[in-house]
Symmetry: C2
Subunit: 237 residues, 2 copies
DNA sequence: GATTCAGAAAAGATAGCATCTTTTCAGCGG
DNA sequence: CCGCTGAAAAGATGCTATCTTTTCTGAATC
């Protein structure tokens, strides 16, 4: 396991603050900032202000033009899959909408990820999935909700990583976020439903026996429950 | 329509070159660069080298540590959904693999996007979709392949945008790329198959009458054809 | 082995010139 | 008096150059 995680601390606070503000609508699309205003406000040098602006530019949240400054772009232009953008959107006013959108994404992706895992995951990983599914049943039936959530997240993350598709694997963090949000916002029944537990096992077993169609079908049933729970229309922006 | 597109020119060549090189494996994970080496190589100042490094850092392709320099990160850490990363991966050695992965993503997403469009798109857009489907039939039956491709791309893009889910809409560019690649690499039959034409119309009609389940089902059939054409396993890395 | 230490490299600050655009406004013509 | 044209001014970033500070690595030393 490559230990290259010692890296994440370099998110400059300016990026965090400005990104969140833009997402929250404090700076509407079309609004202008200048490097100098950032220097004054955050007490940093031009170099640092530029660095941060470059990152926001690379997220397509602002663009910079001479004589004009930094212009905030339309939300439609933002890079929606960047973790920071997702995080900002999940804490801003459009919170519920973003949850719903990510849930829909999850519903779309997980069945194919399960199918991929059935065909491509190693025997070891496939057994680990079955193990997690069994733990889920135990924790679910005894109502230990927090532990259940942790294992549930581990199950779905492992499945996405094992899908063999790096585009799916990239979504692990997002989907963990969605699962956690569902529990912590009381959108989950206090006791996981027996059918859900059975479906988790069915998915794991299908993956275990490399049954592609079975894995996909059972995962589809599983997410269909989520889908029914989702309001018929997305919440407004 | 906000004209905020006058913005895209600020992709520094250094980012392009280094990003492509990293994706191509010229700089393996763990390899080290220094700002000074970039200054020398590209003949730019430290500030610019830093700017570009910041962007690559924000894509999680390198991290920078004092006394060490810039360290190339594992592919698993890269931001996979950034357009530049996708572009680099589509022109590097892992080209076919990336096409296959994106195709799988498309197969996952489009059915739900169709369902969303059925429920959420305006009457105008729904009619436009039906219009495009009709054009597709004409162009397909007369074998005008390039025009067919253009309209096909327009159809799928409009559908994703009309899905009402910004995470789906964000994928329009990617999916256009996949459709174009399929045609231009001879993965498409020279004459689009009649069933595919019928399914496009069926999707558009279902969306037109706000038939959520119908739209999803027909889109699933449509992408299932693609799926059968996809090799059973993904190409190796 | 643990500790110390020198030095390498980025982090950040500052200053200045170059360049690009927007705005303004003077002058002219109708 | 009004409107237009075009040139100059001003405001902002783009990029370069250089300096100090900070942090961490790697090796020498104990």
């Amino acid at each position: 396991m490559p230990l290259d995680d010692a890296a994440d601390l370099l998110q400059h606070p300016i990026i965090e603050v400005l990104g969140q503000e833009i997402v929250d609508g404090v700076h509407a699309p079309g609004a202008r900032l200048t490097l100098e205003s950032l220097q004054d406000r955050f007490g940093v040098s031009r170099t640092v202000a530029r660095d941060c602006m470059r990152v926001l530019e690379s997220l397509r949240m602002v663009y910079s033009r001479r004589r004009v400054g930094l212009v905030v772009r339309e939300p439609a232009n933002w890079t929606k899959y960047d973790r920071r953008v997702i995080r900002w959107r999940l804490s801003g006013p459009g919170r519920e909408r973003q949850y719903a959108e990510l849930t829909e994404l999850r519903i779309a992706v997980e069945p194919l990820a399960a199918a991929g895992a059935a065909v491509r995951a190693s025997a070891e990983v496939r057994h680990e999935l079955q193990d997690l599914a069994r733990q889920l049943r135990v924790l679910g039936e005894s109502g230990r909700l927090e532990e259940f959530l942790a294992v549930d997240i581990a199950f779905h993350q492992l499945l996405l990583e094992a899908s063999g598709n790096s585009m799916f694997a990239e979504l692990t963090g997002v989907i963990a976020e969605v699962l956690a949000g569902r529990t912590h916002q009381g959108l989950m029944p206090l006791q996981p439903q027996p059918e859900a537990l059975a479906e988790h096992e069915a998915v794991a077993d299908a993956v275990g026996r490399r049954d592609r169609a079975g894995a996909e079908t059972h995962m589809r049933w599983l997410v269909d429950e989520v889908r029914r729970a989702l309001a018929d229309d997305l919440p407004p922006h």
